[in-house]
Symmetry: C2
Subunit: 274 residues, 2 copies
């Protein structure tokens, strides 16, 4: 279970409590976001002319309700979120929130965006959740396991699949445009060319499909920490590995590679760092 081993001093009861809080936060944010999904809305462009990094009213509204809930119940917890300044905590606990991961998917009406809710203890992710309020799917992970809830409401333990060679692997990435032309893009292409199949357009959903054993590798670049931290416990508890392209912890964001198992991760890492 990798990095989660270090948190064994956390009592299981505490972990169950934090997971329950994550569920409550997702239960609260979904209904705030949904009135905006597939509606015509004003899109703010926070990156200015030329770039395109949309942030929607839904994004802000959802992060606001999540932050408010945490501040009331756990005033000593820190919060790192996409839309507002970091809140420093006075305890080892920090929530990491991306209210709408995949704003481009959201804007295109595609149901592949998600609300990401993670909890770090002393800088180690211990609870992770991805909530998709349109399809009502939800994925979560802790040291006690990874689980997925389907459209029909069925909850199942999820695990990665044992594909061990890149030539047999299904690779996903949100877009080839994530990779800067030059070395970064060439390295991605070196992996993509060997993989059995490459599929674009995943966002957080792709990592959940990796954790569920339908996708073998996700390779991305330019991720913020709130784009990846809440997904780490889901991937690791399902049996997967997620790091940056040098093999360092994924908690820093940036260039990320996730794989369903250690052998495949090692093979991909070699090509990404070549």
């Amino acid at each position: 279970m990798g990095k989660m081993d270090r948190q064994l001093h956390l009592k299981p009861a505490a972990l169950a409590t934090w997971l329950e809080v994550a569920h409550q936060l997702a239960d609260a944010s979904g209904p705030v976001i949904m009135p905006f999904f597939r509606k015509r809305m004003r899109i703010e462009n926070k990156a200015g002319i030329g770039a395109f990094d949309p942030v929607t009213a839904a994004d802000k509204a959802a992060e606001t309700i999540i932050r408010k809930t945490i501040a009331v119940q756990f005033p000593d917890h820190g919060v790192i979120g996409e839309e507002f300044a970091d809140t420093a905590g006075t305890s080892p606990y920090t929530w990491v929130i991306d209210p709408i991961d995949g704003t481009r998917a959201f804007m295109s009406g595609m149901p592949l965006w998600g609300t990401l809710i993670g909890l770090m203890y002393d800088h180690h992710p211990i609870v992770g959740m991805m909530d998709q309020p349109y399809t009502r799917e939800r994925f979560w992970g802790t040291a006690k396991g990874a689980f997925g809830r389907s459209v029909s409401g069925e909850i199942r333990r999820i695990k990665t699949r044992p594909t061990t060679t890149l030539t047999d692997a299904v690779l996903m990435s949100t877009s080839p445009d994530l990779f800067k032309p030059g070395t970064e893009r060439r390295r991605f292409e070196a992996v993509s060319k060997v993989a059995r199949m490459t599929r674009y357009g995943g966002d957080c959903y792709a990592y959940c499909m990796l954790a569920s054993g339908h996708v073998d590798i996700v390779v991305e670049a330019g991720l913020k920490i709130f784009d990846i931290v809440p997904l780490i416990p889901i991937i690791e508890a399902a049996g997967g590995i997620v790091t940056d392209w040098t093999g360092a912890p994924a908690t820093g964001g940036g260039r990320i590679v996730a794989a369903g198992n250690r052998a495949l991760h090692a093979e991909v890492l070699e090509r990404l760092s070549a």
Copy 2:
């Protein structure tokens, strides 16, 4: 409504009947496909070593039940489908079926594939349907309008949005790898560079989001006729335009461009044929 005008000699009652048949075919195929979705399965590789064009047991099972239903109820109708040889009819009616459009999405666990069911009268598409049995979404169109059913079961009339310039447009395409390196890829990139945003990974779902007013343009290449014919009535009844890159009817497949309105279609066509 473009090509659908020519079918005005069809009695409305007949059109309603054919739409009802399409719903029955989707109701029958969904339960046949679902046991295979997100399950581990044997993937046949019909394109041989080197290429990758998976065809699943689900694909064949669904097309079999659809063909059987049509053969029993309407033995004089023709059927064109992905998995089996064409069945010639003795009437002007031909069904065009793609049991799983987006087999790569299906294999990755992504809920963006769909069962496409279309009916042509005298070579003109008059009924079109896209069914997504995992999310329970369904989209359909006839000369009487285009409609969408959401995850929650709500049915609404859908229409394209009025974005008229490419710089404001959301562009979708299943993958940049659809386009052959050289002229074909350069033309797609000429459109993509000017568009406000490009999103990959759509398959049939992208055309339904265009018909629903969330996406403005879909550009693809290498489509078979069953990949596009069942989507034409949905797009056209919602107010959109779909042709090949030369402006000829989309019923032949190949290089396809769909847009939410005539002005945008004209602008994109100019760049694709330059």
